[in-house]
Each structure stands twice: as structure tokens, then as C-alpha cells.
Symmetry: C2
Subunit: 402 residues, 2 copies
């Protein structure tokens, strides 16, 4: 391969930059001349908004810094490639640009929507006898890609969620029962409850854990919810409950819509959600008279690289390397994957793009509203190890595009 290009797409994570680092590392090992970074994903690609990664990463210190820099170093986008039919000129433009820069392989780090881009481009290349290779690098805190055991980004988000919940649980249990507060913590996840399930990791010898976990995989019953709180208040001096932003009632309505009406949709047609915890906190305050508090982890759960999982950062880097190796071996239309033991390989993108993996129902204890041991066994290895953060004047240092 003479030159290659790498980009990022979709929501940023704490470790997606580690994948970019991995792509760069392996490419340089293989003697690739130029490793281009597309700024703002495929959207920037169409504007030929490229940088030469040598300018940043040939310095070994910068390389290490990139691995612990949050968000998308290259910038991201939410641009969805149009269907081929009737939009041939977009595809022709992309391949003209690839030819112009003598780019032999295109790597895209992202989740479901980003893998759709890899599928579309590799399909077009095959159909039109183009030589360029297209390989996906998995990245999503949502952990909802199929085939792969777990997605880079998920482990670090889990570590942030469990660490923060341990601290919130301590905070919420400061006061005696006479000042009981019901603390409702909202965690990201529209349809899949993977991130909210990580709330179960907080429990241990030094932490009583959250009192209930509500995932979007199960219907949300407000009566059951209030009944549970009224039972808990009899014995506990602190109640902390984790809810997924995407929980829905039996009539298919998002809980946050109970108070705030319908929301806007994003470019992919996803509903923009927020306010599930505050909606529930208001209902609980009104129906029980208890003091309530709503907490949203918001973007912190995908950006807190200062508490990233070492296992996750290293896997993200490794999968970037695996993707480059695959393209170098002639693979295209595939995504780099990892199994539960950390073994890596690649898989056909057609079985991955646009397929959403949810939390298995048999891992959820519906009665206790807790995760079963199968989930804990799955998730515990993903949060292990602490990254070494470079600090300056008491704050973590990041690598930033000029």
C-alpha cells in the first residue's frame, strides 16, 4: 500500500483516538508512505480536508498522548452516504479523490452508521473493479455492534459509569434516613441498555450498589417503579437508581416524553432524547413526597479519558492495527473484531452494518431489576487496568489538531 487514509465518524469516545494511533503505527511498520487523516470524517473527505499524521505522530510522546486524548482527534461527522442509485456522482467523487492522493486503503472508525459507509464504499469498489480496500475499525460506547464480543470505547465508558456511581452512592448515603434522597441517574443508550447495565459493576464489598437498573430492552412500568421506591424507603437511607435514556412505557412512548412532548430527530432519524431522569425525579417527588435528585452523565461518559480502561485503550489500538494488516493482506468490506479472550480477526461488514446488538434478556433479572452474573462475567474484564495519564499543572494533557 502506498498511501492510506483514516477517519472517525459518529459520537466520539474516550479511546477512539487510540484506534487512529494503531492504524498509524501498523501502516508505518508496513512501510506505508503517507497516512492521511480525514478531518470531520467522510464529510471532510469530500472537501479534501486532510492532514498528514506524520506531522503529529512521528513524535513518540505525541503518539502516546493521542492514546489518552478523548473525543475525535481528527474530528467526526454524522454524514450518511446516500444510496448508490441516483447518487453515482458522490461515489465517483470519492474514488477520484482516492486516486488523486494515491490512497490504497480507507479506514473508518465508528459504530453502526460508520460501518454502513464501509459497506457502501466496498460494495461500490467491488462492483466497479476499484482496487482500494475499505476496512472498518469498531468504536462505540453503545456496544451495540454485532459479531464483535465488545466494542472499543465501551469498557472505558463502563469504568467511568461504575466509578462515578460508586462516588454518587457514597455521596447520597451521607445523610440519615430522615433526609432520604432518591437519586436517579440517567445513562446513555437509545435502544440497547449496555451502558446502563454497567451500573451493576459499582456493587462490591465497599459499595451496596444501585437499587435498581432499568434498561430499554424491557418495558418500563411506572407503577412498578413507584412501588419499588416505596418498598425501598422503608429500610434504606439512600436510594440510587440507574435508568437508560431510552426506556419506554407499554404504549411505546419514551419516558422523557411523558413530560416534555415529542423531540427532534437527528440526521439518521434517531430521536434526540434527554430528561428521562428529571422526568422520573419529578414524578417520584410528586407521588412519594421524597426528596429527589436527577443526574445525567451526558457526554462525560464518552469523554472521560482520565479514567479510561487500560484494557480498552490497548484493544482500540490493536484493532486499528488489525484493520491495516487486513487491508494489506487484500481484505476489504470487513471490520476488525475481538473476541472475549482478546483474540482479534476480521468479519464481513454485511453482517455488521445496520445491525443492532441488544443486551440478552436472559442476562437481566427482571424481578430484582439487576443484572445477572452472566453480564458481570462479561463486563468485569473490560474495565481493568488504569491508563498512565500525563498531567501538567494538575490537569490531564491532550493532543490537539492545530
Amino acid at each position: 500500500m502506498k498511501n492510506i487514509i483514516v477517519g472517525q465518524s459518529g459520537g466520539p469516545t474516550a479511546v477512539i483516538n487510540s484506534s487512529i494511533a494503531g492504524v498509524y503505527k501498523k501502516a508505518k511498520e508496513l512501510g506505508v508512505k503517507k497516512v492521511y487523516g480525514m478531518v470531520y470524517g467522510i464529510e471532510g473527505f469530500l472537501d479534501e480536508n486532510f492532514i498528514d499524521l506524520d506531522d503529529y505522530l512521528s513524535d513518540k510522546k505525541n503518539y502516546e498522548l493521542l492514546k489518552t486524548t478523548p473525543s475525535a482527534f481528527l474530528g467526526s461527522c454524522r454524514y450518511k452516504l446516500p444510496k448508490l442509485e441516483g447518487n453515482e456522482e458522490v461515489y465517483e467523487k470519492i474514488f477520484n479523490i482516492l486516486d488523486k492522493y494515491e490512497i490504497d486503503a480507507f479506514f473508518y472508525a465508528g459504530g453502526n452508521d460508520s460501518m454502513d459507509t464501509i459497506k457502501m464504499l466496498s460494495d461500490y469498489a467491488k462492483k466497479n473493479n476499484k482496487k482500494q480496500k475499505f476496512v472498518g475499525v469498531p468504536k462505540t460506547i453503545d456496544n451495540d455492534l454485532p459479531i464483535i464480543d465488545h466494542c472499543p470505547g465501551y469498557g472505558s465508558a463502563c469504568k467511568y459509569i461504575a466509578t462515578s456511581l460508586k462516588e454518587i452512592i457514597r455521596d447520597n448515603s451521607s445523610f440519615p434516613q430522615s433526609r432520604l434522597t432518591v437519586c436517579i441517574v440517567e445513562i446513555m443508550g437509545r435502544h440497547a441498555g449496555w451502558l446502563t447495565a454497567a451500573a451493576s459493576l459499582a456493587k462490591g464489598k465497599d459499595c451496596e450498589g444501585v437499587d435498581a437498573i432499568y434498561l430499554p430492552e424491557e418495558e418500563f412500568d411506572i407503577k412498578e417503579f413507584l412501588k419499588r421506591i416505596n418498598k425501598l424507603r422503608k429500610t434504606k437511607s439512600s436510594i440510587v437508581i440507574a435508568v437508560s435514556e431510552g426506556i419506554k412505557t407499554s404504549d411505546g412512548k419514551f419516558v422523557c416524553e411523558l413530560s416534555s412532548g415529542d423531540r427532534k430527530v437527528d440526521a439518521f432519524g434517531h430521536k434526540q432524547l434527554s430528561g428521562t431522569a428529571s422526568t422520573l425525579a419529578s414524578i417520584v417527588a410528586e407521588k412519594t413526597g421524597l426528596k429527589t435528585r436527577a443526574i445525567e452523565f451526558s457526554t462525560l461518559q464518552r469523554a472521560a479519558s482520565h479514567i479510561a480502561s487500560l484494557v480498552d485503550v490497548n484493544e482500540a489500538e490493536k484493532l486499528g492495527m488489525v484493520a491495516v494488516e487486513a487491508a494489506n493482506n487484500g481484505d476489504t468490506g470487513v471490520m476488525a473484531i475481538v473476541d472475549s479472550l482478546g483474540n482479534t480477526s476480521t468479519y464481513d461488514i454485511h453482517d455488521i452494518a445496520n445491525v443492532e446488538k441488544k443486551v440478552p434478556l436472559e442476562w437481566i433479572d427482571s424481578k430484582k431489576k439487576q443484572m445477572k452474573k452472566e453480564y458481570l462475567k462479561y463486563a468485569k474484564p473490560l474495565i481493568k487496568g488504569q491508563v498512565k495519564i500525563k498531567y501538567k499543572n494538575g490537569l490531564p494533557v491532550h493532543l490537539v489538531r492545530k
Copy 2:
């Protein structure tokens, strides 16, 4: 001193337990027999809800663990002692309990309201020739105690705020200008803007910093705010603004009341606030058509001990020790204090209790809505150094009361 007792009151912090550790350490050095901990502050004291700190802290590992455990290990309360006149029986009860347990000194870690307790009890003791000493140990993330240069708890909260803002700023700048998001981050502080001022610490070589900072020390002008955003959107692809929960408009109304009506008040008559960021985010979305996001740090800013400041943790411990030394030397009705160079001493509680220290107006750049260099010089030393956290299975370990 034969026996002593220590308690915590008010909102918990990331380092208040380090003060309890300091009290224990110095007392043991001085040969104190029993160091009692009152569970749930003065409220638990009245119920004689005591623990013997030897049961936890004679183990050196536990002692170190306590220093990095968030929230109030002993439990806290928001109980305000009634005025002496007409409530003599409460005071008599307290002194009877002190006599019963042969307690010679009473230490209370907290902020303004807690120092009021020390004042009331030491005044009563003097008036009634009681021998017991009463010494305050400063603790408040709000940093609003007078006389003392800065309060234990503040530095760690600043470090959390600046670290999280650096991550949020990276996250928010992922997308091109066409997807510009106005991110409004709400930080604690009813009347004093100390915590919100810490947003200024995020700025550095690797971070553009927040675009504006709004403190409660200055009147909030919604027109100026919208004008600023409309100016920023012309050149920036990301806008991040820090606002204090307690900002008020010219008619004296809290911003969060603009949308949600009047709020409840707590036991001390403080208004319970929340929703300043979401109120502003809604207004910005409506008036500018821009995508907005509201983030509240909520209790995380006072509980995130995993990113505590080493300077802060050590000072909290030291001030606990200073308090015990003072009582041992016969001092009462005082609070342990620290100056800007880390020198410690004690000060008359009457000049401290119920006095609120605000951010000096001359430290605020009203036009740019930024903090001036005087604030940066003041705050930068407080966030220095990282604590060594004990991790188990990828999560920080805490010391918890049985």
C-alpha cells in the same frame, strides 16, 4: 485530653474524610484515649450514635484509604442548633453527653452552617464555665468561608471541574461548524461563584477553554448572553459556556426560575436550585435555532475523589491535625485556617461563622466574561498533584462504615 469526638456536617466533599483522618492521627500522637466519631453529625450526637475510630483507623491501610474515600465517612446532617434562649435543654443535653463519655474536645468539619454550631457550643461553654473545647475544621467545596485563604474540598472540586471541562470541550469540538452545539455547563454555587470560576482553569496550550463564565456575583443579562452566542457562532465550531446555578437576572430572580417557577427551600432557608443550564439551553435553542446541550456536574463535583487534588487532600488532613493541636493547647471557639502559602493556624470562630466570602469583583473580567489572572494565580496551586488511588478490579476502593 482524655477522649475527643469528631463529626461532619453539611454537604459532603471529596476530601472531608481526610480531615477526620487528620483529627484521629494527631489525637493518637497526643495520647488521646478514645477518638469517637459521631454518626450523622450533631443529629447523631444527640442520639449518642458514636463509633470508636480505632475500630477502623488503627489499621494503617484503612487510614490511607479513608483519605481518598469520598463523601462523609461518618455521615452528615443539616441540623441547625436552635438559639440558646428558650432551648437550654438541647444545650444541657449536649454537655451531659460530653460529660458522660468524658469528652474533652469536640471537632466539627463543615462550612458556614457547621461553624455556627462551633460558635454556639463554645459560647455556651464559656458562659457556663464548661471545660470542653470546640474547634472547627473547615470543609466546603463552595470556598465561601472568610479569613481562610481557601477551603479544603475546593481544590479537588476545581480539579474535577477543569478536567471534565477539558474533556467536554474536546467532545463538543468533534463536529464541523455546520453541526455547532452550544454546550452550557452548570456548576454549583448559590451565592458565591468560586466553583464556576474554576472553569477558567481548563484553558491552556492544549485547550481553548470555555467561551464565557457567568458567576452569581454579577447580574445575569439574558440579552447580553444571546448576543455573545450569536457573535461566537460566526467564528467558532464549538461553544462551551460555564454558568453558576445561582445566577440571577436584574429583577433578582434565579435563571432557573424563568422556566420552572419557585422552588422549595431547605432546612436553612436556602432555595433549592437546579436546571439553570437546561433553562438557558432551551432559551438558546428557541432564540438562535442552534443545537444545545445542558450538562450539570451535580454531586459529582463534590464526590469525585478519584481525581482529587493531592494538595487538597494533604491540607485537609493537616487542618484536622491543627484543630486537635489547638484544642490540646487550650484553644476553643476557633477554626483551623490555612494561608496562600500553606501555613496553618487558628482564628476566632465569631469572625467566620455565618459570613459568606464571595469572588472579588476585581477578579472578574465583566466584558469578556472570563476570570482575570488574579484568580488563576490564586487557584492554580490548589489543583496540583494527583492522589494515589487504590484500585480493585478496575475501580477505586473506598472505606465504608459498617
